[in-house]
């Protein structure tokens, strides 16, 4: 996945491969956690709404 994401980034990994992987992984983590949490809330809201009908 990191390789796939690396292909769309505008800069080549001119750091060490380790730091480059860490940069991509940290960005993936940030969005996965934040949007994952928002998605969880949306699911719970939908569940309550459907149960109360």
């Amino acid at each position: 996945m990191i390789t796939a994401i690396s292909m769309i980034l505008p800069f080549s990994p001119n750091d060490t491969a380790l730091s480059y992987r860490h940069l991509v992984l940290s960005y993936v983590l940030v969005f996965a956690i934040q949007f994952g949490y928002a998605g969880y809330i949306a699911l719970q809201r939908a569940r309550i709404k459907s149960n109360s009908k």
Partner: protein
């Protein structure tokens, strides 16, 4: 209100996208660290939010404690707000720790150091994990009060986290902002930082509102179930 929340969501999404564009495509690579420095654009705003939202949780907890006897409905709303802020704080603290660990491995060669900044932030994370565990598993009638007391401990930890890199010598870098003459980042990096700070602040506000709405739905549903049970009981006795 619902319309305003979705409007806020789309505005936040636009600012997040612009912040991402600036962080990846516009801001230059750091002269010493190279591209791994770009973690900074998400790590620092997350850290700031992880130190701001505990006070939203703390103030809501104080409202809960103040209102719980005089105005139970107001207290329920304050408690829902406190819970929403606690969860969002945990999200931002988790991200701050995770991105910090990844940056630390690349920059220092180690995943973790038991210095004052990292340890006090880990303590804040553990306090909010405890807060949510109490909310989830405590079966006493005092759950909200116990959680509110944990909020007070968290509010005490926040200034220690903030001041730790000023009070003690740490592995963590010295303050980037408000740290004296040698602090700060290159002006060419500031737009990326400020837009991402705005974006994550807006996202945090959105998450708290969204989570607050869910908790209020749960509270209203629980009240309605309790009312039905009372009605059924009264009808059974009649």
């Amino acid at each position: 209100m619902k319309k305003l929340l979705w409007l806020w969501f789309f505005a936040t999404f636009a600012v997040l996208a612009y912040g991402f564009y600036l962080a990846i495509f516009v801001a230059p690579a750091d002269a010493e660290q190279g591209n791994v420095f770009r973690i900074f654009f998400y790590h620092v705003p997350s850290a700031i939010m992880a130190l701001v939202f505990p006070y939203v949780n703390f103030i809501a907890a104080l409202f809960y404690l103040g209102l719980r006897r005089k105005n139970p409905l107001g207290a329920l709303k304050a408690d829902a707000f406190a819970l929403a802020a606690a969860e969002v704080t945990l999200v931002f603290t988790t991200i701050c720790l995770a991105t910090g660990i990844l940056w630390g491995k690349a920059a220092w060669g180690i995943w973790w150091a038991w210095d004052a900044r990292l340890t006090s932030l880990l303590l804040l994370w553990l306090l909010y994990v405890s807060y949510l565990l109490v909310r989830r598993f405590s079966s006493t009638g005092q759950t909200q009060t116990l959680a509110a007391i944990l909020s007070v401990f968290a509010a005490v930890d926040v200034p220690i986290v903030y001041m730790s890199i000023r009070w003690w010598r740490t592995q963590h870098p010295s303050p980037v902002f408000f740290g004296g003459q040698d602090s700060g980042v290159d002006p060419s990096m500031m737009p990326a930082f400020l837009w991402n700070l705005l974006a994550w602040a807006m996202w945090g506000v959105f998450l708290i509102s969204f989570r607050y709405g869910l908790e209020r739905m749960r509270q209203v549903r629980a009240q309605s179930i309790a009312m039905h049970a009372i009605d059924a009981g009264l009808e059974g006795n009649a």
